[in-house]
């Protein structure tokens, strides 16, 4: 046998205790769901917020879509609640219609002519605008036609695309790509995979979701995927992954002509399928680091690190810090975090056809770093908003100055103005130099607006509105949640 240095992908590790746990968790979740549904739980309250986790905006109609994941299984399903994003009315907000999705749903994204890019024309059955929601317990992807109806509580029917993964479960993360081949593809990452192997399903959105979607299941190596970000200029789909044996990697798929299924349903790069790269290990940079959410900079800017010239795109990555010592001892990642960070990483092209990530900033943000949201600014690097779940924080990072400029944490009496476990962020440019952020509180079941003056983000503050009694109060929506 000849030993060939390097080039190990780390695929095919033996089944471990971890993998058994990974397999067991979706099973347990399914059993729990079955029990819940057998108990004739009430139907979803489309005008309520109930563990709002993920959000997206349909800009054309100024609609805010909130995924309620019904974590306590109080209802028969989860659902999407719509709000009029342009309303300044605190309290209930202006509630729109909604759609059913499974309990414990995954992420949501909106594809409209602006976000679907060159593939937004008539490509088969792909007809934006629509929203995609990952159905974790159903191993399916849901298409919700947009706009949502304006009548509160009115339901719009969604289309279910069965992903039918062979080795994975719990679809969670979402992405969309439209490359040079003008094929609109959705990408769905699974939170569970046999042997802790990560899997991503590639969905050709041109196919009829009812009669049979074109789905390719892609083995992306050890570590299940979490969050995606697409670099169109390099046709590269980045994704973060869960820790495995102290490795927490940023990996990527070179999309090209897409991933392809060959013998036995296996995606094979050597036969022309996409390239899945082993990636870059954050855990090797900082012990206990595990990437969570990722967004790319809105534009490229001159490279600043690693001696690279030309322009670079940056990645903003929320990084969860876990007790690596305990993980090493127990053989599994501890369920809780001990810290969290925002990493700013430049992505210059190295000489071997892959990016050569360069860490520009590592900023501590608190325990359980969550969503990352990019706010573009003309002529300047981006503003970046980050939620921190366990510490109840919203940070604003100014990439132009390279520093945190604002943190919204507990107020003077120790209460978190954004609620406990601030989770997802959506923004809206108000057009007056102010960008309004909408932040969901997972545990307090509301959405709070934060106004960010982009020229002076340190002056960001919770937006206010006038309630029915004429009082100025925080602009916070909870629908008709009791």
């Amino acid at each position: 046998m000849t030993l060939t240095a390097r080039g190990t992908h780390g695929y095919g590790s033996p089944l471990s205790v971890r993998s058994l746990l990974t397999r067991a968790s979706p099973l347990a979740l399914s059993l729990l769901l079955a029990c819940a549904k057998a108990g004739l739980q009430p139907a979803p309250k489309l005008d309520w917020l109930h563990y709002p986790a993920w959000m997206a905006a349909y800009a054309d109609q100024d609609q805010l879509l909130v995924v309620n994941i019904d974590q306590d299984l109080a209802f028969s399903d989860g659902w999407v609640t719509g709000f009029d994003r342009g309303s300044d009315t605190p309290g209930t907000g202006v509630v729109l219609g909604g759609a059913d999705v499974p309990n414990v749903a995954g992420k949501i994204m909106v594809l409209d002519p602006a976000t679907a890019g060159a593939c937004s024309g008539a490509f088969g059955q792909f007809q934006p605008p629509l929203a995609l929601v990952a159905g974790r317990t159903e191993s399916a992807l849901y298409q919700i036609p947009l706009p949502l109806p304006t009548t509160p509580g009115q339901k719009v029917a969604s289309n279910r695309i069965g992903l039918d993964p062979f080795s994975a479960a719990e679809p969670y993360g979402l992405a969309y790509t439209c490359g040079a081949d003008l094929v609109p593809r959705a990408w769905v990452g699974f939170q569970a995979g046999a042997g802790d192997v990560g899997y991503v399903s590639q969905v050709d959105l041109r196919a009829n979701p009812i009669t049979g979607a074109d789905v390719v299941e892609v083995n992306v190596g050890i570590g299940t995927p979490r969050s995606f970000a697409y670099d169109a200029a390099h046709d590269r789909l980045y994704f973060t992954g869960k820790e495995y044996l102290l490795r927490g990697a940023l990996r990527w798929i070179d999309v090209g002509q897409g991933c392809k299924t060959f013998d036995g349903g296996v995606q094979d790069e050597s036969q022309g399928g996409c390239h899945v790269d082993v990636g870059w290990d954050l855990g090797a940079v900082l012990r206990g680091a595990e990437p969570n959410e990722i967004q790319l900079s809105s534009d490229v800017s001159p490279c600043t690190a690693g001696g690279y010239t030309g322009d670079c795109r940056r990645a903003y990555i929320s990084v969860r810090i876990y007790d690596a010592d305990l993980a090493h001892l127990s053989g599994t990642r501890p369920s809780s975090d001990i810290g969290g960070m925002l990493w700013v990483v430049e992505l210059p092209e190295g000489g071997l056809g892959r990016p050569d990530p360069q860490v520009v900033q590592m900023l501590d943000v608190g325990v359980t770093a969550g969503d990352v949201h990019v706010i573009p600014r003309a002529g300047q690097r981006d503003l970046v908003a980050v939620t921190v779940l366990d510490d109840g924080l919203l940070w604003l990072y100014d990439d132009e100055s390279g520093t945190m400029v604002k943190v919204i944490g507990s107020n003077a009496v120790g209460l978190p103005p954004l609620g406990h476990k601030p989770t997802a962020i959506v923004s809206k440019d108000l057009g007056n130099g102010v960008v309004r952020l909408f932040v969901s509180s997972f545990e307090d079941h509301f959405v709070t607006a934060v106004d960010v003056p982009v020229a002076d983000p340190s002056a960001a503050q919770v937006a206010t509105g006038t309630d029915g009694n004429g009082n100025v109060v925080p602009l916070r929506w909870k629908g008709n949640t009791p």
Binding site: T2, L3, T4, A5, R6, G7, H9, V17, A180, D235, D254, G256, K260, F262, D268, E269, S270, Q271, G272, H275, V285, L286, R287, G288, A289, A305, G307, T309, I321, D323, A324, D325, L326, H328, L329, S330, G331, I338, G339, M341, G351, L352, G353, R354, V359, L363, D364, G366, V367, D391, W395, S401, G402, T403, M404, V405, V407, G409, S410, S458
Partner: protein, 926 residues
């Protein structure tokens, strides 16, 4: 026991706080520490040292006593004292001593303590003095004005780093009752806030900012890290009179140092030296050239080692001190102290791709440059001391002074007399004059022996015990075909007892050839080296997508990219010599029918299928590189021009043959080569092997050498046999000796595909390849011990080093103890290689993939302290560190503890460690 059970047991153990008594620390993401002297109810009426902790997750500061590692309790005695900060997430705290006045006594003076929060611009003063207000709070707290408003100063921008120090006047003298807090701000501004201590006949305090505004200075660069030299003023003269404030006043109180990624004073990358004798807001800036941008900085003044054998460490468990004449002790350290600046080089601006090795650079502020190599003074061009290599990225640099009452020997616990020496414990114990503690990204706390410019190891590279630098494993080719073998050196025996029993061997194919490999302490890494005939180049062992074009004359052009021109992706810079692609190398074109649209008359081998006759996958059709072309608009990484490949030397059954039908050119599929034009397919690249593959010559074969970690190492060319070894040993050497000369001849470093000159031909590319390899095998550690035996043995007979490391330079003077004795310099690995024929009847051809494997062991594991993890392993995300000398006051009865370092970890922990003690003496404060 299952792993889960182990985990539970560990958790149970972790519940035991082995650090402290009193209320738990209630730490939540502690991020910064500062030692200050102040007043609290824990020691009523007494000025006492405390440590302020920025307890970030709780939006507060908490305080503990470093003498006994116990918290200062809150009035309700169930939790530590909490000092809430006006801004959430306190991130930085700093303290400074005020200048002394004659009356009242110095020991009555509380210290300045300030804090700033993440993302905030307000510098908050913390009360350390006795509160004489109506509330009369006996403990430290938020300093407020008469209106109960926080005594804060707005700095105008967010803070990157924060330091505090005694104020100095224009002559450099310390100003009584004044101190500065200095903050580096985003945008390249320095903010200085002046504080005054009010003293009366019966009390010291309060402290207040002199002005409500900071004095700002535009630096022109952004300071990522600030430092002052904390070495006590007596260190140079060694006539120290320390008060109980450990360390007294700093030796060079008027210099502030700043690390930066930006050029300083126009064009110098390194460290800025600001002279605080000037007017705040206009402190003169002087650049110290570190030859690269810097991220962290520290300063210290100490007596460094002598360059002779005596400067090594092995025998140093007690200082050679003449108490009556310290300057003439004839000992191991220079008689006079030198000011040094230590800068952690930006890891993205150093390393094998650059002209600078990575690590912590030792700077000579007097020269404004990296410290000159003390073993090569006056050389032209100037020779520099290499940076101290680090095992992981340091997150802070904190120098530690020797304890005020230092032990007489490294194992003494009762006799304290030898300031300014301190003991450190690594693989053994030794005496030094200063350490630099480095909490690092891998969760460990490393420390440097500053007197010897190295991180001490847990093992010795040169030792008669343990596992010194050596070859630990050797896998022979092990076939009945011709094998790769190594020549015995004709001179300079390298290693071990092999020669006693194998004196006649000249070309050794077995694992005994391990003895013929030269290694060098400080250069040879822990690595696995492969030496392979026609092996894969390490960066091309996996599939890489390539576009194939017609190059005319029956040749193909292959560009490793997807698509073409400006929109091409996955572009590989094949022209970059660092990757080792040469003319004569072999490109495997990995064809499958699906790539060609599944034509019914598919003309190429299908590498996805197995050959029924052999059960192995069909081999790829190959091309031989006849030209490596520079990048152009269509091929942004360059391209390879291929002609049909040579035959492939292999053994089918027992028959050696150079195969062409189903290997290499695939003459059984004559239509394939033409079909490849226009294809997009995966490729891999092998080394060509030198010469013709079907000849039976034993010399001139190029074997590709790969280090698993370090990468491509070039080609080892086989040489003809000798009867008693190779007089030209070694024929292959991976060394860095010629790096500068090679780089000077290479126009491609750094490689920029947009500016490749036409003049760089294949010969030029070979030079560049050697330059790139030289950079990969630079010194990794400055070895400061050469002999593991006692003085007499080492100086009279260097047998150990002589026997194993002949590249050492030995003293020849009559007094070898005094003669400069430079660290060894040599190759990371070297050998002479040949082709060994097993027997006269054996096959003649050297078969593709014939290989030997060599495992090398560096013999060096840098020593560290750790324990912040749940299982007392390495924790995650340490921040900075502070130092505290428990020997400073004999009333504490802690002389044996010496100097301690406190390191906060994000996982709700502060570690109390000491390089002078074993890691078992690490205390976990939670």
């Amino acid at each position: 026991m299952t792993r889960r059970a182990l985990a539970l047991a560990a958790l149970a153990l972790a519940a035991c706080n082995k650090g402290s008594a009193g209320p738990a620390f209630r730490l939540a993401e502690p991020s910064s520490l500062a030692v200050f002297w102040g007043i609290s109810h824990k020691n009523p009426g007494l000025l006492h040292p405390y440590v302020a902790v920025a307890n970030t997750g709780q939006d507060e500061l908490v305080v503990f006593d470093p003498v006994d590692d116990s918290t200062v309790a809150a009035p309700i005695d169930i939790r530590p004292l909490s000092i809430p900060t006006p801004d959430p997430r306190p991130a930085l705290v700093a303290s400074a001593r005020f200048g002394l006045t004659s009356s009242p006594p110095a020991t009555d003076q509380p210290d300045l303590l300030v804090a700033v929060s993440a993302g905030a611009t307000s510098l908050q003063l913390i009360r350390t003095w006795a509160d004489t207000s109506a509330a009369a709070n006996p403990d430290p707290g938020l300093a407020v004005d008469a209106n109960d408003s926080p005594l804060s100063v707005d700095l105008g921008a967010e803070v990157i780093d924060l330091r505090a120090m005694p104020e100095v006047d224009g002559t450099g003298a310390i100003v009584p009752d004044r101190a500065w807090a200095v903050a580096s701000l985003i945008g390249g501004t320095l903010a200085v806030v002046e504080y005054q201590l009010t003293e009366t006949s019966d009390s010291s305090g309060p402290i207040a900012p002199v002005s409500g505004a900071a004095t700002l200075q535009d630096l022109g660069f952004e300071a990522l890290s600030l430092a002052v030299d904390p070495s006590p003023s007596g260190n140079a003269a060694m006539a120290v009179t320390l008060d109980q404030r450990s360390g007294g006043y700093p030796q060079n109180p008027y210099y502030l140092y700043a690390a930066s990624l930006d050029p300083i004073s126009g064009s110098t990358y390194g460290v800025a030296q600001l002279d605080m004798r000037g007017t705040p807001g206009a402190w003169p800036v002087r650049a110290i050239d570190a030859h690269a941008p810097t991220r962290l900085v520290a300063a210290y003044t100490l007596r460094e080692r002598q360059t002779s054998y005596r400067g090594g460490y092995i025998q140093e468990n007690a200082p050679t001190v003449d108490d009556t004449d310290l300057a003439a002790d004839g000992g191991d350290f220079n008689d006079t102290a030198a000011s040094r600046v230590y800068a952690y080089l930006d890891p993205q601006s150093c390393g094998p791709k650059t002209a600078v090795a990575c690590g912590v650079a030792v700077l000579d502020p007097a020269a404004g440059d990296v410290l000159e190599d003390p073993w090569n003074p006056g050389a032209s061009p100037k020779q520099y001391l290499p940076p101290m290599a680090v095992a992981a990225q340091p997150l802070a640099l904190v120098p530690g002074t020797p304890p005020a009452q230092a032990p007489s020997t490294t194992d003494s616990t009762s006799d304290f007399e030898h300031y300014p020496y301190m003991a450190i414990i690594a693989g053994g114990s030794r005496i030094t004059t200063g350490v630099l503690v480095m909490p690092s990204a891998d969760g460990r706390i490393y420390y440097a022996d500053l007197a010897r410019w190295e991180l001490p190891g847990n093992q010795y590279e040169v030792a008669t015990f343990g596992v010194e630098t050596q070859v630990t494993a050797f896998r022979a080719s092990g076939s009945d075909s011709p094998q790769i073998a190594l020549y015995k050196p004709a001179v300079e025996p390298i290693y071990s007892n092999y020669f006693a029993t194998n004196t006649s061997a000249a070309l050794e194919p077995s694992s005994l050839a391990a003895a013929f490999v030269r290694v060098t302490p400080g250069f040879t890494p822990d690595d696995l080296w492969s030496v392979t005939y026609q092996g894969y180049l390490p960066d091309f062992v996996d599939d890489r997508v390539a576009e194939v074009e017609d190059a005319g004359n029956g040749q193909l052009r292959v560009a490793l990219q997807s698509g073409s021109g400006s929109t091409a992706t996955q572009v590989v810079n094949v022209f970059d010599p660092a990757y080792g692609v040469r003319v004569g190398d072999i490109v495997e074109l990995r064809t499958t029918p699906i790539l060609f649209g599944n034509p019914p008359d598919y003309a190429c081998p299908d590498v996805s299928q197995t050959d029924p006759s052999t059960g192995t996958y069909f081999k790829a059709i190959e091309g031989k590189i006849v030209s490596v072309d520079k990048p152009d608009a269509s091929h942004p990484g360059g391209s390879l021009v291929l002609t049909t490949a040579d035959c492939v030397p292999l053994k089918l059954g027992i028959t050696p043959t150079c195969e062409v039908l189903t290997y290499g050119p695939w003459t059984s599929k004559p239509g394939c080569w033409a079909e490849l034009r226009g294809a997009s397919l995966p490729v891999r690249i092998r080394a060509g092997g030198g010469g013709a593959p079907d000849d039976t010559a034993r010399d001139g074969k190029d074997l590709v050498v790969v280090a698993t970690d370090a990468g491509y190492m070039g080609r080892a060319t086989t040489v003809s046999g000798n009867t008693q070894g190779d007089p030209n040993y070694p024929s292959f050497s991976a060394d860095s000796a010629s790096e500068a000369a090679l780089v000077a001849l290479c126009p491609l470093m750094p490689f920029d595909p947009l500016t490749v000159p036409d003049s760089c031909d294949e010969s030029c590319r070979r030079t560049c390849e050697q330059a790139a390899i030289a950079r990969r095998v630079r010194r990794r550690h400055l070895v400061s011990a050469y002999c593991a035996q006692d003085d007499t043995t080492c100086t009279s007979n260097f047998s150990f080093a002589d026997f194993r490391f002949p590249s050492f330079v030995y003293p020849t003077a009559s007094d070898p103890l005094a003669e400069p004795y430079p660290p060894p310099i040599g190759p990371a690995i070297a050998f002479s290689v040949g082709v060994y024929t097993v027997a006269a009847t054996a096959p003649d051809l050297l078969v593709r993939d014939t290989q030997i494997l060599i495992t090398t062991h560096a013999g060096y594991v840098p020593s560290s302290r750790y324990g912040a993890g749940t299982n007392y392993g390495a924790g995650a995300r340490p921040f900075g560190a502070v130092t505290f000398d428990r020997s400073a006051d004999s009333n504490w009865s802690k002389q044996g503890d010496g100097v301690r370092f406190y390191v906060p970890y994000v996982g709700n922990t502060v570690l109390d460690v000491s390089p002078s003690h074993f890691n078992s003496d690490t205390h976990v404060l939670r």
